[in-house]
Symmetry: C2
Subunit: 388 residues, 2 copies
């Protein structure tokens, strides 16, 4: 036997994390009960207790999403893995996928769809706007896609896409409706079945108050049909819902070893959401966001998105002229332990992103961030000038 | 706004998990310090603290695997996602992939490779045996693959494949060597660089004493070269190492929101392994396994695998004639809180699988399982006859 090489042997100290209030685009702080659940000793992924817990997670997810879809489950990866799963399972080579792009995550959907061999067509809006029904109908007529993919809550812009009527359009033009609900689940009204959504995905670390690591996924019977009629295997074993269905369905056939502790966490997170009630949670997010918006306006700051399209979970604030936005965010993190986000893609350097999601959507956090903007923006301005 | 549908609203109790000693094929029990780390409040995935932690995880993984590969990181999914990543990144349509199959996970590699358009060729051995160098060389000459994929520690059979000389064969016949180390990392001697392994993956929940949810992945510069020379995008956005490299490398460009708490956990798990020392951990696994084997033999039980090929982490024990193996395992779980595994695939109903991995590889657990086999196998036999 060779001898052990110690080049990469490092004696690190036990982990000691800094205290952070996470008011960026996510992750958001987790609920303490969720963190407790995460640290419970694992059980086997075929243990009768765990199998029962899987059913509970599925049922609670259906409630949170307002869907009765049989195939509703958390993918064993982050939200991005569930995003990929919606496309991997339904796109076949040559299928036209129409992506309605109004921000960073629309672009990602287009990138992903292309990797699955789709004929990707796009319809675009400026970052900060939403689509009208007419714009979508025109694009549907022009491209006649198999799937219309779009983002409900654009995390890069803070826009909430109005959904009324879009599902009906997709039925009319015979395509599936695929919806990103990463920044809406648990914080913003969502009615998947009412809206006739066929495929949706989300994450665990925003409105659900759980750490990142699971990707809620759901699929309607119309989408199931497309999966069943595939002429080729799903080009991704890990995300293949026809296999996952045998584990999450009544057969309980081993697929992969489930991330059991993350599922303890999301079960608890979803339970707490059900305990609070969806409408109560949505109202809480709305009220706190409105207070944030009016407070920021009182400080002379401007929102990037029109009020009627603004997400209650994530607010984009224009960085005032002359302020180093990245420097200010770093100052809040390093000196005050508060994380806010910078702009992404087109909006890099132009906006901050302030999240009030799940456990973090509280009046106290609204005050905290407003007070910091009031006291630190001016101080920071001075620091900035002094350094210059 | 529609009204909220309460069909799927369930008022579940706060989570309360049963106590389990996990002596099956994994997950294994996690180290208490790892569970504590998991429950720390999350930080942002671009937080300077987190970015430093990523580097620590990478360095500790290099030590655990005995590799200096730059691209060494945990995939944000379970071991199966890392398994898929090794193939997704390197296989291009039409590439010949030779899979050396001697159990369930070899078959899975073949299934996965096919999904990426590989021309899959196989060489097979009976479940319970390992390959000789001659057998592999013959198959390499016959198929001239771009990749030879095989399993170091077959979790379905309990066989440890001797690795000496295989890497040299792969250099001679100009192919990459891809190795499954799911049930060996942390528990069985592994020298990736010495063995000239180009691609490897593992899991968090066995030898590392962390819950399932991360998939350690590593890639040599030879494999990087194959990735760099692809004529098409990696057909999987989530697992695309050329993108992940920008986040895990020095650029720190956002790819997906990392499962930060799981990474807290694996950082602690790897730190504890480095603190113990690799050789010490390997010796501990070997000693405890040998005591398990001799104890089982004293009870008249027979191992499925020849001693020279036996894995110290996972033992396959033949189910004696007349015993309902599944019923016995369920009895241990329900009456004694001890999980052992049943057979998988070809070995279903024929063997039990007993794991002594990571935190669970202790003399106390060896005694516990031997005492249970001694007292319960006979009791169970009576119960079984009484019920019949």
């Amino acid at each position: 036997m060779p001898s052990v090489n110690l080049n990469h042997h490092k004696a690190f100290q036990p982990i000691c994390t800094p205290e952070r209030l996470l008011l960026g685009p996510g992750p958001s702080n987790a609920h303490p009960d969720v963190l407790k659940a995460l640290s419970l000793p694992p059980v086997g992924h075929l243990d009768p207790f765990y199998v029962e817990l899987m059913g509970e997670v599925q049922e609670l997810l259906r409630y949170a999403w307002q869907t009765s879809n049989r195939l509703t489950l958390p993918m064993s990866g982050t939200g991005s893995s569930a995003m990929e799963a919606t496309l991997a399972n339904t796109v076949e080579k040559g299928d036209t996928v129409l992506v309605a792009i109004k921000g960073y995550f629309g672009n990602r959907l287009a990138d992903m769809a292309g990797r699955y061999g789709a004929n990707v067509q796009v319809v675009e809006k400026k970052w900060g706007q939403a689509f009208s029904l007419d714009e979508l109908e025109e694009a549907l007529i022009k491209t006649r896609p198999a799937i219309l993919a779009m983002v409900h809550a654009e995390t890069s812009t803070g826009v909430c896409q109005p959904m009324e009527g879009i599902g009906d359009l997709c039925r009319k033009y015979e395509c599936l409706l695929l919806l990103d609900t990463v920044t809406s689940l648990g914080g913003v009204p969502l009615f998947l079945d009412e809206w006739k959504v066929d495929l949706a995905y989300s994450c665990s670390q925003k409105g659900l108050s759980c750490p990142p690591g699971l990707g809620p996924f759901t699929m309607s019977s119309r989408a199931e049909e497309k999966l069943a009629n595939r002429s080729t295997k799903v080009p991704n074993w890990y995300l293949d819902v026809s296999l996952l269905n045998k584990y999450w369905g009544s057969d309980r056939v081993y697929h992969h070893t489930a991330p059991v502790n993350m599922n303890f966490g999301i079960r608890e997170a979803l339970r707490l959401l059900a305990e609070e009630g969806l409408e109560e949670a949505w109202n809480r997010h709305r009220t706190n966001a409105e207070n944030l918006w009016s407070g920021l306006q009182r400080l002379g700051l401007e929102m990037h998105v029109d009020e009627n399209l603004r997400l209650p979970t994530l607010t984009t604030v224009k960085i005032p002229e002359g302020i180093d936005g990245k420097g200010f965010a770093l100052h809040l993190l390093n000196k005050h332990g508060v994380e806010i986000g910078g702009g992404l893609g087109e909006l890099a350097g132009k906006v901050w992103r302030i999240g009030l999601m799940g456990y973090n959507s509280t009046p106290e956090n609204v005050s905290r961030v407003l007070n910091l903007f009031e006291s630190e923006l001016s101080v920071f301005d001075k620091i900035d000038s002094a350094a210059a």
